[in-house]
Amino acid sequence: MRKDDVSLDNCLKCSDCNTACPVVTAHPAYPGPKRLGPELERMRREGIECDTDWVEYCLGCHRCDLACPNEVNVSELIARAKATHKKTPIRKMRDWWFARPGLLGKLLTIAPGVGNFALGLKPVRLLMSTFMKITPERTFPAYSKSTLNTPEAATAKQGERVVFFPGCFIKYNQPELGCHVLQLLQLNGFKPEVAVSGCCGVPSLANGDPEEARKRAEANVLSMIDAVDAGARIVTACSSCGHMIKTGFGNMLEGDAELAKKAGRIAASTFDLAELLVAQQDEGKFNTQFAPASSNRKLAYHAPCHQKSQGIGRPWYNLLQQIPGVEMEDLNAGCCGMSGTYGFKEEKYPVSMEVGSELFAGIRASNPQAVVTECATCQMQIEHGTGVKAVHPVDILLNAYKPGARI
């Protein structure tokens, strides 16, 4: 972590960050980003004991960073405090696993039928509640054995080489979505391949394990650097993976100048899928061979926090508007409250649901046929909180093309 970060001296105590914080808004007992970030950081740097459980309650949404008029790295200061925070043994063990979704994915996809069955059993979930402090209120996403591969040379047309970074959720839970990403890239003139990648490291950081995040960053950088140096762009379809590659890899690898430079080159070449398609559109290369609308569809869009933190505008929202018959509303109702593994933690489940309540109310008022959002755990939270189907925008866009559409 950056020891030379003096951005806390820029804090004017204006409290913009507190007004933007979803946890402060929903849960008044939370001290807020101003306190947990720049204020306590001064004491931490002086070696004054000020550890508090509340640092664990930061969602890592980065809304405080975006609200700050003076460019203080508020959430990074909190993440740093999270890393040195002392946890109870049960939470420590649980968070060790939550920090390693790649490992979990590998284990559970050895025999996904057995794993899914076991995770669905009530007694198992009650045991997990007792011994791992994982809330029995939620269902685990199903794990899937089918694998995601680079399209065969026969189906892959010529085009710009891009490398798709799937991330854990697509790799282990939604490989069919990954296949749709590849099809969409091909339909828009790219020659995609699948990165040999592990977890991006966001869950490790969120669970206070920066060393694990550093290892993940290093492994990913080493596996992708050759492609990037050969001119390929990296594509993400998970907003948290995209956020991490763009902002986190460099920070994590700062101790090694050579790796940090590589991380910088990878970040500069990484695009959210919709960001890439918007760039195609600006060059007149976005494929718009859509089938005529059979009926009107009312959709509601939820922008994930890690999409906002990438500073790319609302590319999916604007792309999907162009599909015939699609009527889209931007919910703009704040953070969903799930924050990956956060919402699974028993002690944080009520906070997670309180945070999401504004979004749930917005969805109910909008009454859409489906909610569209590019973050898998936002989707889980939306379906859990409202019962309304939540889908990835890739599926909406891919289904909109007429049969035989090609570039």
């Binding site: 204006c14 008029p69 504004e358």
Partner: protein
């Protein structure tokens, strides 16, 4: 200028980029969007809304300035559509209390402050909240008695205190109360019950700003109706709950009008080539995000002159920045709001922000609005 057709294809090219989300930036974005332009609003943080409440004074201004009337009318209408309407007008002078127990002279103010005028024979209760250190009702009431006397007004002020529940382990704070007002019906009922006995003996209640960050006229006027008593809410130390409410309502209104927000990333560079501004580079993660546009309005506040470097020596008659020789820095670049304070012509806080914001937005939309005299 005809209304431009809304494009079906949407990308990072805009008719207009507005930099800054204070009153000037928001007004110019709304004015241009209202003329059919596709507008991007680029900002770091919500301007000075977190510090105040947005009152407008025009006393120190030249009221003969062209378009002043039109701009105020536009702003009133904008806030009304946002559910956070301003009251008053150029011809009006009102005295609105402050948290220091003085009166500020305003011509326009948000609806939640407008009733603060010291009416003759008014029975005013200044209501503090137990444990809320940022609002001292005794101090405010005592000073208002004195200042109302100076103004020759016969209103009386008495200090009252109510007690509201607070979350365990916290101290009373306006942000906590504001958030709970928005989200918790039980809290609203608790507040109403606490104020009811005071309202029975008063014609106006002055209280610290706590009535929600997302609420609007419906909720606050609903509370007034339930109490049978007018309310005047004073902004406290940051965060100003009423100020953030105004910002949130205006932002929501602009989003509905199609304005695209790019929040949280400062402008790294204005791209000016051959005396035309082509767009901006935003300091976003991994690489700068480039937004291009037909024109650009700088409404970035008094501390942000660096974007124009040392070239800017004020603005010409239609709000376009000029260099030392009086030549335009870029023909499609305008400036509005407090950034103009460096030039001697601009004074007047929010009134100036509304006037220059409106004029710049209309000029960028090619509308025939006159800003300067002559």
């Amino acid at each position: 200028m005809t209304r431009r057709q809304v494009r079906k294809v949407r990308s990072n090219h805009f008719d207009l980029i507005v930099a800054g989300a204070g009153i000037a930036g928001i007004t110019s974005a709304a004015a241009a969007a209202g003329r059919g332009l596709r507008v991007a609003l680029v900002s770091t943080g919500p301007g000075s809304f977190v510090l105040g409440a947005g009152c407008v004074e025009v006393q120190n201004m030249d009221r003969g300035m062209p378009s002043l009337d039109e701009a105020m009318g536009f702003f009133r209408n904008l806030t009304e559509l946002a559910g956070c309407g301003f009251r008053g007008g150029l011809g009006e002078v009102r005295y609105i209390p402050t948290i220091l127990g003085s009166f500020q002279t305003v011509s326009l103010a948000p609806f939640y402050m407008w009733s603060g005028e010291p009416e003759a024979a008014a029975q005013v209760a200044v209501v503090g909240i137990k444990g809320l250190s940022s609002f001292d009702s005794n101090f405010v009431a005592e000073r208002l008695v004195y200042h109302a006397g100076l103004l020759g007004r016969g209103s009386t002020y008495v200090a009252r205190e109510i007690e509201l529940s607070i979350a365990e382990g916290t101290v009373a704070g306006t942000l906590q109360f504001g958030n709970r007002f928005d989200r918790d019906a039980r809290f609203r009922a608790e507040l109403c019950d606490a104020l009811r006995p005071i309202a029975a003996k008063a014609s106006l209640i002055i209280l610290p700003g706590i009535l929600g960050l997302k609420s609007g006229q419906e909720e606050i006027e609903g509370l007034e109706k339930e109490l049978g008593c007018l309310l005047c809410e004073l902004p406290t130390l940051p965060p100003s709950v009423p100020g953030m409410r105004l910002f949130n309502r205006l932002e929501a209104r602009l989003r509905r009008a199609g304005v695209e927000f790019f929040t949280g990333f400062p402008i790294q560079k204005l791209q000016i080539e051959n005396a035309r501004c082509k767009g901006v580079l935003l300091d976003t993660p991994a690489r700068p995000l480039r937004l291009s546009s037909e024109s650009l309005i700088l409404a970035t506040g008094p501390f942000s002159g660096r974007l124009l470097g040392n070239h800017s020596f004020g603005v010409n008659g239609d709000l376009r920045p000029v260099d030392a020789t009086g030549a335009l820095i870029a023909e499609n670049l305008y400036a509005a709001g407090a950034i103009l304070r460096s030039s001697s012509s601009a004074r007047g806080g929010n009134a100036m922000a509304i006037l220059t914001g409106y004029a710049a937005g209309m000029l960028a939309a090619g509308a025939g609005v006159q800003y300067a005299q002559g």
